[in-house]
Assembly symmetry: C2
Homo-oligomer: 308 residues x 2
């Protein structure tokens, strides 16, 4: 319909036909087809970003919000060691911000999709008088021996992260690189017991692969890599707490046997940084923070929570 | 996380394990697996409903809004003659409305999911200070010879609908039955040239399977079934226009050869109503409305539009 603003119609024109997408934008549903050699399993996840809750404009731009809306999903696919394939974008666009705003949002999604070889295969455009809401559904496929779940960590496993943590909300949360390549490379190199991405903060997210599986963890404060985005003039302890609690790092957290951990440290996959931050323990439901002077304290889950 | 309200966590407890859903709610992504005998193709669609735009509460209830959020997606799967399989729910919940509201919304989604054998396999819960936004992504599989697209109608084809039209916004738009069974039954009975669901109104939606394919259509005013939800005290012409333009009917519109159309009228699939409303013509881009007295007028696309 010519006189209807339709971000999805624009996507259709911007998006090249892609193997695997038999019917893309423009019919009642998309039709996806897996290749002969593909793992027949499909990975699916959805994430919704809401203005005033996950971002404000400014300092964010619509382009960066679009980018982030896809990036957080890519991070989840990375945490399954998956390969992203197709994305579906549902938006509620603020009427008052007009069409140029919508185009910038779209450009941000489109650019990152191209970079990660993701086909924008459908969506739903809505214009309303509320703030911006953008929800992206991402479909992908497992790689190698299959998806890497949260559930396989064992006491004695090393806990490792793929990059320094903390201070993301000063801007990195809008521009981070989802660790899709690292997830696949790690999965191809060692036996990953568990894999997850850090969205709420290490202090909270570590519980998913330890406490929720019936185990505990010890995190060594001195080994937690602190990002340069955390102000340097803070006391060292406080900088470590920021790295543990700030959230929105979108690095991967993995659990591997000590042997595999050693192997990763001595020859990490190309382009993949790795930092050992602690170990899985058999102390049910207990996560401890170990300071260099030997002090131990419970590591409470801080990070982000949704509450009424 | 115990102190976090999480609609998705509640779904996890409410949802029975389902074949095909290898990993449901609770990991980084869902993992879906197609059965050995399944069509390997996946149907995907997403639809977003926003408070104040698609519904207001009251008169709608959160339960009915949840129901509708899934129902509109089921209608799109129906329009591919598909079988729905799994749904992913992203919500932005208004903080001020509290937890009981969220639970009602969830119950509305859950009940319809059970009715249509759809597994709630993932989602994203957010609480904010804005109005309610709920976005559902639905995955399904083709049935029979495959998905029925918008593109196969031919001049001379009959245009048929699966039920009376108009007046939906007085309440039916919240309670309609998605024509999933009818879509599959029709696909199993005749050769469908094109199939679509009526969301924006027949006057607008008919263009998708005619004008957008290089053809035109003639709609016979006297044959358009007018729903009893359209006020009976309106003039007959006006009632027909309401049926053509009101939208949100969520009936199916199909194009079939005249022979197949005859066959459908004489022995419709069990439980499936059918009304012939017109025919596909070779008048490029022209949709005409034919009145019983022989008058012809262009049928303009009314129905709903999103505009800045």
């Amino acid at each position: 319909v010519a006189d209807e603003f339709d971000i999805i119609e624009r996507l259709r024109k911007a998006v090249a036909p892609r193997a695997g997408v038999e019917v893309g934008i423009g019919d009642d549903t998309a039709v996806l087809r897996s290749g002969i050699d593909d793992d027949p399993r499909t990975l699916v996840m959805v994430d919704l970003l809401a203005e005033g809750t996950h971002f404000t404009i400014p300092p964010a731009t619509p382009r960066l919000v679009g980018r982030k809306a896809l990036a957080v999903n890519l991070s989840d696919i990375a945490a399954m060691a998956g390969r992203p394939e197709s994305a579906f974008v549902a938006v509620a666009l603020p009427r008052a911000r007009g069409e140029a705003f919508a185009e910038e949002l779209l450009a941000g999604i489109h650019e990152l999709a191209e970079e990660f070889d993701v086909c924008l295969a459908g969506g739903d455009t809505n214009i309303w008088d509320g703030p911006l809401v953008v929800s992206v559904t991402l479909l992908g496929r497992p790689t190698g021996s299959g998806p890497v779940l949260r559930s396989g960590a064992q006491p004695g496993d090393w806990l490792m992260v793929t990059g320094p943590l903390g201070g993301s909300l000063s801007g990195r949360h809008l521009t981070f690189t989802p660790r899709v390549a690292a997830g696949q490379a790690l999965h191809a190199t060692v036996e990953l017991h568990a894999l997850i991405d850090l969205s709420d903060g290490l202090s909270r997210d570590v519980r998913h692969i330890t406490c929720e599986q019936g185990y505990g963890a010890v995190i060594e404060a001195a080994m937690v890599p602190v990002h340069s985005d955390v102000p340097r003039d803070l006391p060292a302890d406080e900088r470590t707490r920021r790295a543990l609690n700030d959230g929105e790092d979108f690095e991967l957290l993995l659990a591997v046997s000590a042997e595999e951990g050693q192997r990763l440290l001595s020859s990490p996959p190309v382009g993949c940084s790795l930092f050992t931050v602690g170990a899985v323990t058999d102390s049910t439901d207990r996560v401890e923070l170990l300071w260099p002077d030997g002090r131990r304290e419970p590591l409470e889950p801080h990070g982000y929570e949704h509450r009424f």
